[in-house]
Amino acid sequence: MSPLAQIWTIAKLEIGRAFFSRRALWVYLLALFPAVIFIGHGLDAKIKRDRWTGRSIASPVAIDSLSPGMSPEQVIEKVGNPQDNRTWQGRHRVESKDNDKVIIEKTEMRSMFYFDGTRRNDLRFENGKLNRISKNQFVSFEEDRKVYAAVFQYFYLRLAIFFGCLGIFINLFRGEMLDKSLHFWFLAPVRRDVLLLGKYCAGLIAASVIFGSGALISFCAMVGFQDPTQIQSYSQGEAAIHLGWYVLSAVLGCVGYGSVFLAAGLLLRNPIIPAVVVLLWESINGFLPDLLQKLSVLHYLQSICPIPAPVDDNVPPVLRMILSPAAPSSAWVAILGLLAFTALVLFAATHAIRRLEINYGTE
């Protein structure tokens, strides 16, 4: 039997347990969390939009033709009746120069609200004159894409896939040591490194399916609730490419972190230690010399993401170093770098597994 056939046989025997390891069912919560956020956000926007759309929709052209100084009547004549209309009196004190007399000035305030299908338009009048129009995109596609990029990089890659792979891969060997069933694999006519790769494949398939679909579902949820014209233009343009890169970086995240935690599960008994060490390593990676930065999974993944995650200008420089990759490599270099990194880790793991002994008791 060729080693490749053996790897596949082992992966098939192992895959059910990789998907439904009793120790790692929480992995699904991590994978689906962004999807839940974006579906929630989208539904919320949709409900609001439906509510406004139910009433009359103003013409965007008419709204754009409004100019400051117009009276409410002129506006109504042009655009039609507003969906919301409020008046109130503004008061403010005016200190008079005469000793202690206080004059209260009154202003007639009025606000009108129009929904034009995509934007919310708030018109503000003072003493019968239009003085401010604020137009807000109802669901801002630009903004949502940035939020998605941020959620994907800061939560999904950094935490969800990281801990998900921890849960799935560390149990491949450590779980069997705890269950006292690892010797069963060692007694098969299979080279130890072949066994390692077989188990890695099983974990990788499970993790990729779980986190790839998580990325896919959340991306669709983010796009699906946008304005239909925007969905159309985006899906004819970059959507598929962006989605492809997101799913690919999720899968590559599983490839990289999977190898790290598979190796950790062979070398260490306590899963907390490798988790903390790797998390720290990834966090301080931005401060390290160039060469050491190549030994980070996140470094490569962030280089692959299609839209850079926004970093607020107010963020202190130290934190910014932690959040952003220092020198993003080009996508293909990043992919090759990640695969090379993974191969290196797996190679080290085959050394560990060859020396591994069954040391659980027989009781």
Binding site: M1, A5, K180, S181, F184, L187, P189, V190, E357, T362
Partner: protein, 310 residues
């Protein structure tokens, strides 16, 4: 040349500070070989060493010419029913046996046929589709046996295989071992008591505290045990003269002066002849103050190993 024996050359294994086995030399021909020793004596350690589950700290092992570091070769000719009670999570008895055969490389159809055959051999056909976790102790013992024999290995290793079997299955199992041995295969099994295995074993290996005490055909081993050397401390005048006299008489295996100057340390296999010799020495005028056995624990151990029957 050594392609039909299992060889241990000066093998030691420590678990950290704890001794597993110490400086073991073994030459095991085919046939049924029983490893006998009390709890913690190193039987499982020896078996794990020859199957590659643990690695020797020093020394060398070959199984029919194959190193235990090459499972892809070794496990083609070997089946090992361990003492470990666990099967992979959630598998049925049938899955458990089948998985081993698939890894062995049989095509699915052939693997299924062999799995059922092995399960039938251990009379578990009725319960094959149930989860191993829900098996009784004896059933788990049998399913492990089924897994070990499913690919009809040349070397069959069984850690306490008779434990927990009812008399009927036990007789069938032993018949199967004999059958295997008659085909020139190795069957190596372990047990706590010699009487349990002596009737059907071709060889026995007695082990205690990680050391091999005796090895060979059952009859010879019995004699060896019976005449195992006992150690005595002889309190006497003129120790060196006494030592010389004892040695000339030939009743002792080893004589040396006690390093603490208390007298003579003697190792003998013939206690009666030794007693007579001492009498003679005393009569010749040398004062003997006492004869003290120094190794009562070891004596008890041999007593244990040989058990009641002879």
């Amino acid at each position: 040349m050594n392609s039909d024996v299992i060889l241990f050359e000066n093998v030691s294994k420590f678990y950290g500070e704890v001794l597993g086995v110490n400086k073991v030399n073994l030459h095991i021909p085919s046939g049924i070989t029983s490893l006998v020793g009390p709890n913690g004596s190193g039987k499982t350690t020896l078996m794990n060493l020859m199957t590659g589950l643990v690695h020797p700290g020093s020394g060398k092992i070959t199984v029919r010419g194959i190193s235990p570091f090459a499972p892809e070769k070794l496990m083609r000719i070997m089946g090992y029913a361990t003492q470990y009670d666990a099967a992979p999570r959630g598998v049925t008895g049938y899955d458990f046996v089948l998985a081993g055969l698939l890894l062995y490389g049989y095509a699915p159809g052939e693997a299924e046929k062999r799995a059922w055959k092995a399960i039938e051999t251990v009379s578990l056909t009725q319960s094959a589709e149930r989860k191993v976790a829900a098996y009784s102790k004896g059933m788990r013992q049998r399913i492990r046996l089924a897994q070990a024999i499913a690919h009809e290995p040349q070397v069959l290793i069984l850690d306490e295989p008779l434990n927990g079997l009812d008399p009927l299955v036990r007789a069938e199992t032993i018949a199967m071992f004999r059958n295997y041995a008659s085909e020139g295969r190795h069957v190596i099994l372990s047990s706590h008591v010699l009487q349990e295995v002596d009737v059907f074993s071709d060889q026995v290996i007695l082990i205690a505290n990680g050391m091999i005490l005796a090895e060979g055909e059952i009859k010879n081993v019995r004699e060896e045990i019976h005449e195992h050397p006992s150690q005595f401390l002889l309190h006497c005048q003129e120790p060196s003269r006494v030592a010389a006299m004892l040695f000339e008489g030939g009743q002792v295996t080893e004589v040396k002066l006690d390093p603490q100057g208390r007298g003579v340390l003697v190792l003998t296999r013939q206690r009666d002849a030794f007693a007579e010799a001492i009498e003679r020495i005393a009569l010749s005028g040398i004062e003997i103050d006492g004869v003290i056995p120094t190794d009562e624990n070891v004596d008890a151990l041999y007593e244990y190993l040989i058990g009641g029957g002879r």
